[in-house]
């Protein structure tokens, strides 16, 4: 039962922490609860569909369908996170100052919210489909332990969701003047880590060269399976044995989004000055 709980917990945790960060980051955007719920629901349906068609996906593209799907899902999530962060860099100040300040922010908020929905949906889809397959396997084996294992799965789900909610509640306590910097940084590293993960899948599928694998091995100092290693993996993309190509992806995304945020923040300030 506990081994099941731990597996499900690990699958749920990543999606749950991503949702926690995004829910906090978009706290002053009107109607964001509706979009979060829609993303969650779409993700759950998507996870079911992916699990249902796991066989056909696995055999697609001469056996690398799963890697392609994972890499595409991660890639879209990285783009959406980048867009969110750059959008926030130009509107965050307004939202922080006054939630109902301008009609324009609300209008822009709609496209921002669909990006939010997509990110949440994709995170749930990716982790949820694996969890669904795993639970299906247990249910199908119909051993005496099945029901206790399914109970373990439920336990893992609830624990994972609770940790995500804890992160959300904790982030809301961050003082407003640091708040958008904090969530912006979290999302920046989240996106870079996802890009590295996507590269990992493309290497596994032999679509990209690994460029030195591993580039370094820190599994003796900080194993990725340890609690700290796992959290660092989710938050900043820590990998104890990364391939060189993963680092290339990581840094490219990190630098590109940072520059985008800087540029958006500056042109926004410029516009405001110009308007006065």
């Amino acid at each position: 039962m506990f081994s099941t709980a731990i597996i499900i917990f690990r699958e749920v945790l990543e999606a749950s922490l991503i949702i926690g960060i995004l829910a906090a980051a978009t706290r002053s955007i009107p109607g964001r609860n509706y979009w979060l719920a829609a993303g969650l629901l779409a993700g759950l349906v998507g996870a079911g569909v992916v699990a249902l068609f796991a066989n056909s996906i696995a055999s697609m593209a001469s056996g690398i369908g799963q890697e392609l799907l994972n890499a595409i899902v991660l890639g879209i999530a990285v783009l959406m996170l980048a867009w969110h962060n750059i959008w926030m860099a130009s509107h965050g100040a307004e939202l922080a100052a006054n939630a109902k300040s301008v009609g324009k922010a609300i209008r822009d908020g709609a496209s921002e919210c669909s990006a939010l929905m997509l990110i949440v949906g994709l995170a749930v889809l990716r982790e949820g489909s694996e969890a669904t397959l795993f639970l299906y396997g247990i249910a199908a084996s119909e051993t005496a332990e099945s029901s206790s294992m399914l109970l373990g799965g439920l336990l893992g789900l609830v624990t994972g969701a609770t940790v995500g909610y804890g992160l959300y509640a904790g982030l809301l306590r961050v003082p407003m003047r640091w708040f958008f910097t904090a969530t912006g940084l979290l999302i920046l590293f989240l996106a870079a880590g996802m890009a590295a993960q996507a590269a990992g899948f493309l290497i596994q599928a032999d679509l990209l060269p690994s460029l030195a694998a591993p580039l370094w091995d820190t599994s003796a100092i900080l194993p990725q399976q340890s609690v700290l290693g796992m959290l660092l993996h989710i938050f900043i993309g820590y990998d104890d044995r990364p391939a060189g190509m993963q680092i290339v992806f990581y840094l490219t995304v990190l630098i590109t989004i940072s520059l985008g945020m800087k540029w958006a923040g500056r042109s926004h300030q410029f516009n405001r000055k110009g308007a006065k």
Binding site: I7, A54, N55, A58, G63, S141, Q204, L207
Partner: protein
């Protein structure tokens, strides 16, 4: 654009470089063979044939690989080039029994 063209030209070359294939079967949540010896410094293709009705996740921290293999299907995983050494792998969904190791020498 130019980079994309170069990538498109180079991709098939990778695909064509025929890797030696190794086969491992999953049956009753056990890997057979549980030990696979491969040459060090060479990329290989590992065919995992899941003959169980239930899905399994092939996972290895040492190899930095993870892949879900649905019941009654086969999956290919590209591995290496590796330095000589032992690289354990396991089936995450049945980790009690599904254990194996790749030995590169």
């Amino acid at each position: 654009m130019k980079n994309l063209l170069i990538l498109l030209l180079v991709l098939p070359a990778w695909a064509m470089a025929a890797e030696t294939e190794y086969i491992v079967v999953i049956k009753n949540h056990v890997f057979e063979p549980a030990e696979i010896t491969i040459p060090a410094g060479k990329k290989i293709k590992l065919q995992v044939d899941n003959q169980d009705a239930t899905p399994e996740e092939f996972e290895s921290h040492e190899l930095n690989r993870e892949k879900v293999i649905p019941g009654k299907t086969k999956a290919s995983i590209f591995i290496g080039p590796l330095k000589s050494g032992r690289y354990p792998f396991f089936g995450e969904f049945n980790a009690k029994t599904a254990q194996g190791v790749i030995i590169a020498e």
